[in-house]
């Protein structure tokens, strides 16, 4: 099981455009990586079925903690065929996870900058945002984790991007889940048409 050290930032279009220009100039362009994601927000875990639409691949991922519960994510992941995405979602929904499911499309472009992988993204819920990630080997010591987090913070600072704190992430995801719950309830109670 690999360990991801992952931090995020949200920003407006002006910061987005500046960040992309900086990464195009000084980073390694890893290409477009759009994804359609079905994600299940479970107690203390995050389960995802990801259709990598730009890459033509798909995968199932279980993360050992939710966004807002620390920067280190124990991650189990395996590939599936893109044609099996719908079946995978059907299975998880049939297992009773349907009420915890959300769906999102991420327009995403990947870069590498100073040893940190940076995914610059837009999604309806998050708007413009970026994910800064360093992947560590299974069982990486605490010192390596601390060093990876420090490297991400340095890179973000160099790029002029403010990383979200764990509290900001927890608040944001809680607000998102509440809005989604309200939206689903509103849809179910919609007035009939004539």
């Amino acid at each position: 099981m690999a360990v991801e050290i992952e931090m995020r930032a949200r920003f407006d279009k002006e910061v987005h455009d500046r960040l992309v220009a900086r990464l195009e100039e000084g980073g390694e362009d890893l290409g477009q990586d759009d994804k359609h994601i079905h994600f299940y927000v479970l107690p203390d875990q995050l389960l995802k079925v990801t259709d990598n639409t730009a890459a033509g691949t798909a995968k199932i991922t279980l993360k050992g903690s939710r966004i807002g519960q620390g920067a280190a994510f124990e991650e189990t992941e395996f590939a599936i065929a893109p044609a099996d995405v719908a079946a995978a979602v059907k299975v998880f929904n049939a297992l009773g996870f349907d009420t915890a499911m959300h769906e999102a499309f991420n327009l995403r472009h990947n870069f590498r900058f100073s040893g940190v992988e940076i995914a610059v993204k837009w999604s309806e819920a998050w708007g413009y945002h970026a994910e800064f990630e360093v992947l560590l080997d299974d069982g990486a010591p605490d010192a390596a984790r601390t060093e990876a987090a420090a490297r991400i913070a340095d890179v973000a600072a160099e790029l002029g991007v403010a990383l979200m704190t764990e509290q900001e992430l927890a608040d944001f995801t809680a607000a998102f889940e509440a809005t989604e719950k309200e939206r689903k309830e509103r849809e179910q109670q919609a007035a009939p048409l004539r």
Partner: protein, 254 residues
Amino acid sequence: MSTTSATASLIDLAAQDRLPLHQYMDRATIDWIRENRPDLSSVPSITLRPASKELLRQAALPARWLAEPHVYESIHGVRHSMRVTTLATLLAEEQGLDDEDTATAVVAAAVHDWQRLHDKDDRGHGARAALWLAANADTVWGHFGLTAVPSRIVRAATAVRLHDVPYDAFSADDRTDHQRTERICDVVKAADALDRYRLPKLTWWPNARHVRVPAFERFRALAFDLVVISETAHLAGASGTESVRYALAETGLV
């Protein structure tokens, strides 16, 4: 049910006069649109009023309100509806309409094609949508967080009814109705015309001769960009609503 063939692009089918009943954007067509960008002035810097921004947040209508589900992802479906709603908001503000009339234009723009049965010359779809809007006014205005009142319902329904009737084909009754709600009607017709950059023939693209809103010219570049950005995002896999909201973000409107 006739739908766009998996192999033929809309530009090819349009050239052969073989467009199907339901028409869906494809990569060859959006590439062709992008390559044929007219020499347009740059997109103006725009700051929408807060009330208008709030209306745009609700611009995606529920698919279950459609008369024909096949239209939802077609060239007259949710992306067209959301772009026309956006353009109507901009034109309304530019023409000096107040918040109330802007909201009425927004409601009309959102539903104007929602009772279409197909993407060809669906005669009378404006009149059908006007009747549907009047019958479901509380639900529709409620969707936008607004209250339906008779005067606004009549104005919006008139704009919806007349959106598919060319000015030079107006009957005497049409002219009378138009005079009562001229500014809203004109805004909806102009917004609908601006979104014609999505169509697969250059001769079908926006033409100022068919509209009566001076601000039409000012928003051509933005209308073109909204089509290209949202249709490209949709073909990459974004849903209809996601793709237009992305285009709004990319053009700095929200």
